[in-house]
């Protein structure tokens, strides 16, 4: 959020507030007070980007059990630990074969600048993984720079056309997003430039609200027929993903599989957004950690685990997160927020400009305003030109390599010759909450709350 209505002190207080004996309310902390003041001043709910910022049980609450006596580790730099993944071989004659299981999540041209989309394509292609379009159609920049491009099929169908559909390497039918399960997209007028408006068939400068339901199907029986149509149009060549926002992943995953999906994409509540009501981001959906075991259970019960691949997103930051998601049963992961940070989002070099916008490096989430100093979440030509797509693509490729190597490091320590061989048995939890959600034992015990009644 941006603090626009509150007087900003001219000089920072020099004394530690706690030393004065002042006590901050846990219930009404400073951010909450600022939210109330902002609402009172404007009369409109706060809209922002990024995902849930509240603290929820996460991959940080899990640890790996490295090999020792009862398990053999692999030699760290000599024995092979493969990372490739095949996505969509259930029905499609041309499945994707990626070199790393870390993919780039769907983000629209419109939400992001053309340079940012190009940079994502360059970075992903350099390491042999896929990138994904968003709620604004496919741009030539993106198609041209992306070796593997996933084309999103959204309720709005902005820019949807059969030529781009046939150019896609995979089709992702979007039912929801972790930041806002049950909500449609938003793009505020500042970012609806002539090009963005043209691609979406909208008047320039309006506050665009995307539909939250698909216009021509309702429920899993219809979805099965819709998937059949898309397969017919693409001659059964193109893998079809179904993306769900994590709320009831057990049922949604089962229904996606029954509807004929090749791949299920599961986005937890920490997954990012370009513009959504803050109340929605923070209060709807469940954490990624809680969602994965439910989805995996559905796949296993249907006998489809590893046949219908599971891509998990929402709060993936490190190779440890990648390895933990895969140990819990994911076939691949997707990154959005982390990819933008790798491109240059929230870079301290723009500290002064973030301050001018009422934010700070590390806190900036006003992606809806289109005034991003880093030139990523903007349509302003001058700001967008700050992002060099070649250099930013290189940074993303570096980051993707680090994620992959970190995950390999952990997998080798657990004695696994492929990231896919990681399993829940390799994990323990640090907290009772994480143990219950991830369905792995509390560290040092054999207890999984909700699965076993006692220690």
């Amino acid at each position: 959020m941006t603090i626009t209505s509150i007087p900003v002190p001219t000089a920072a207080p020099t004394q530690d507030i706690a030393e004065l004996g002042l006590r901050e309310s846990a219930t009404f902390d400073r951010a909450t007070i600022a939210d109330i003041q902002r609402a009172a001043a404007t009369g409109v709910y706060d809209i922002r980007g990024w995902g849930a910022k509240r603290k929820v049980p996460h991959f940080d609450d899990l640890l790996f059990l490295g090999a020792s006596m009862s398990r053999y580790p692999l030699e760290g730099y000599r024995e092979k630990c493969d990372t490739d993944v095949v996505l969509g071989d259930r029905h499609a004659s041309r499945p994707l074969h990626l070199q790393t299981p870390v993919t780039i999540a769907g983000m629209s041209f419109g939400a992001l600048s053309a340079n940012a989309k190009e940079a994502l394509g360059r970075g992903a292609s350099e390491v042999g993984t896929s990138t994904t379009t968003g709620d604004g159609g496919m741009t030539p920049e993106e198609r041209g720079q992306s070796k593997h491009l996933v084309y999103q099929y959204l309720p709005s169908r902005y820019g949807m056309n059969p030529d781009d559909l046939r150019k896609a390497d995979a089709i992702e039918i979007v039912l929801g997003q972790g930041a806002k399960p049950g909500g449609g997209g938003m793009l505020l007028g500042q970012k609806i430039t002539e090009r963005v408006a043209g691609m979406r068939t909208l008047p320039v400068g309006i506050d665009q609200r995307s539909a939250s339901r698909h216009p021509d199907w309702t429920g899993p029986d219809d979805l099965e027929i819709k998937i059949g149509e898309l397969r017919e149009i693409t001659d059964w060549k193109t893998p079809i993903y179904v993306k769900i926002g994590a709320s009831r992943p057990y049922y949604d995953t089962a229904l996606a599989v029954k509807s004929g999906a090749d791949v299920v994409v599961l986005d937890g509540m920490q997954g990012g957004t370009a513009a959504t009501q803050q109340v929605f981001i923070e209060n709807v959906g469940i954490p990624t950690l809680a969602a994965i075991p439910q989805a995996v259970q559905a796949l296993q019960e249907l006998g489809m685990h590893r046949k219908v691949q599971l891509i998990v997103s929402g709060g993936i930051r490190t190779g440890a997160d990648v390895a933990k998601a895969m140990a819990l049963g994911a076939d691949a992961v997707a990154i959005g927020t982390a990819a933008l940070i790798a491109l240059g989002d929230n870079d301290p070099r723009y500290a002064a400009e973030y301050a001018d916008l009422g934010s700070a490096a590390g806190f900036y989430d006003d992606f809806q305003d289109g005034r991003d100093p880093a030139g990523i979440t903007t349509q302003d030509p001058e700001l967008a030109s700050r992002l060099d797509p070649v250099a930013a693509g290189k940074r993303l490729a570096n980051y993707l390599r680090v994620l992959t190597m970190e995950a390999q490091t952990i997998a080798r320590a657990c004695g696994k010759s492929h990231l896919h061989n990681l399993e829940p048995e390799d994990l323990v939890a640090l907290t009772i909450e994480a143990s219950a959600m991830a369905r792995v034992p509390l560290a040092g015990t054999s207890w999984i709350p909700g699965v076993q009644g006692s220690f």
Binding site: T42, G43, V44, I47, H91, S93, S156, R157, M160, N161, P162, D163, L165, R166, L188, G189, R200, T201, L202, P203, I206, D207, R209, A211, P215, D216, W217, D221, D222, E224, I225, K226, I227, G228, E229, R231, E232, I233, T234, D235, W236, G260
Partner: protein, 246 residues
């Protein structure tokens, strides 16, 4: 539930006929839909097909990208002529959900009724329904022209962005809810208008475009008998004064 057929179990059923004068006949009582669609995807301009015994099957004649003529003799299921790009598809019968969804150009003509979401998200071209259309006709339309001989159901032209919707009968509830720049012409009654949709004056340029659309659909209705509806453009921006409309 439909049964998805694995790709390897199917082969091409009929070779397209090089002689444009004689339509290729595909009998769907014996042949799978996939063979028909694959042949249509390899078609060249000027060819024609007749589909017998469609039996309400789904995804008939989808993704056509050549100037061909396809006549479906019977009822079609969901998504008939989906993502149509060129040529003409005629259904001599009724059509299911999502007729000509996301049509780009060309013509799709249904002689009977169409179910809900007809011509949903269509970007261009002409969709003619001689009978009635169900709910959500023209939902999120983006430039397509739709002419319905009979009535249309509720929530039609919901979030309609561009194009023209012509209704020669009556319209159901919440017509044009959250409409953008599409234009709606209704000859009969409108049960109710949706949020931000209002009646607008029927000026000469509207009479002229309506006459063209009716003629293109082969109809003889008098344009002067219609009323025009469109966006009040009051909900284009988030504003505190609109909070009860959100």
């Amino acid at each position: 539930m439909v049964t998805l057929t694995a790709p390897e179990t199917l082969g091409a059923v009929t070779a397209p006929d090089d002689d444009a004068a004689a339509p290729t006949v595909v009998d769907l009582a014996d042949a799978p839909v996939r063979g028909l669609n694959q042949d249509l995807h390899h078609a060249v301009d000027g060819q024609s097909w007749t589909v017998a015994n469609p039996g309400g099957k789904h995804s008939l004649a989808v993704g056509i990208n050549a100037d061909v003529t396809v006549t479906i003799d019977g009822h079609a299921g969901y998504y008939a002529a989906g993502m149509h790009q060129k040529g003409t598809v005629k259904v001599n019968g009724n059509a299911g959900v999502g007729l000509a969804e996301n049509i780009m150009s060309g013509t799709v003509h249904v002689t009977g009724d169409a179910s809900q979401s007809a011509a949903a998200t269509g970007h261009g071209g002409l969709v003619v329904i001689d009978g009635n259309a169900g709910a959500r006709c023209g939902i999120s339309m983006k430039g397509v022209d739709i002419v319905v001989g009979g009535n249309i159901g509720h929530m039609s032209a919901f979030m309609a962005q561009a194009g023209r919707l012509v209704v020669c009968g009556d319209a159901g509830d919440a017509l044009g809810d959250s409409i953008y720049e599409a234009r709606i012409y209704v000859k009969g009654t409108v049960a109710s208008l949706g949020a931000d949709c209002i009646e607008k004056p029927l000026r000469d340029e509207h009479l002229a475009e309506l006459a063209e659309l009716l003629a293109a659909a082969g109809r003889t209705d008098n344009p002067a008998d219609f009323s025009r509806y469109g966006s009040a453009r009051n909900l284009y921006h988030f504003h505190v004064d609109n909070s009860t409309a959100y």
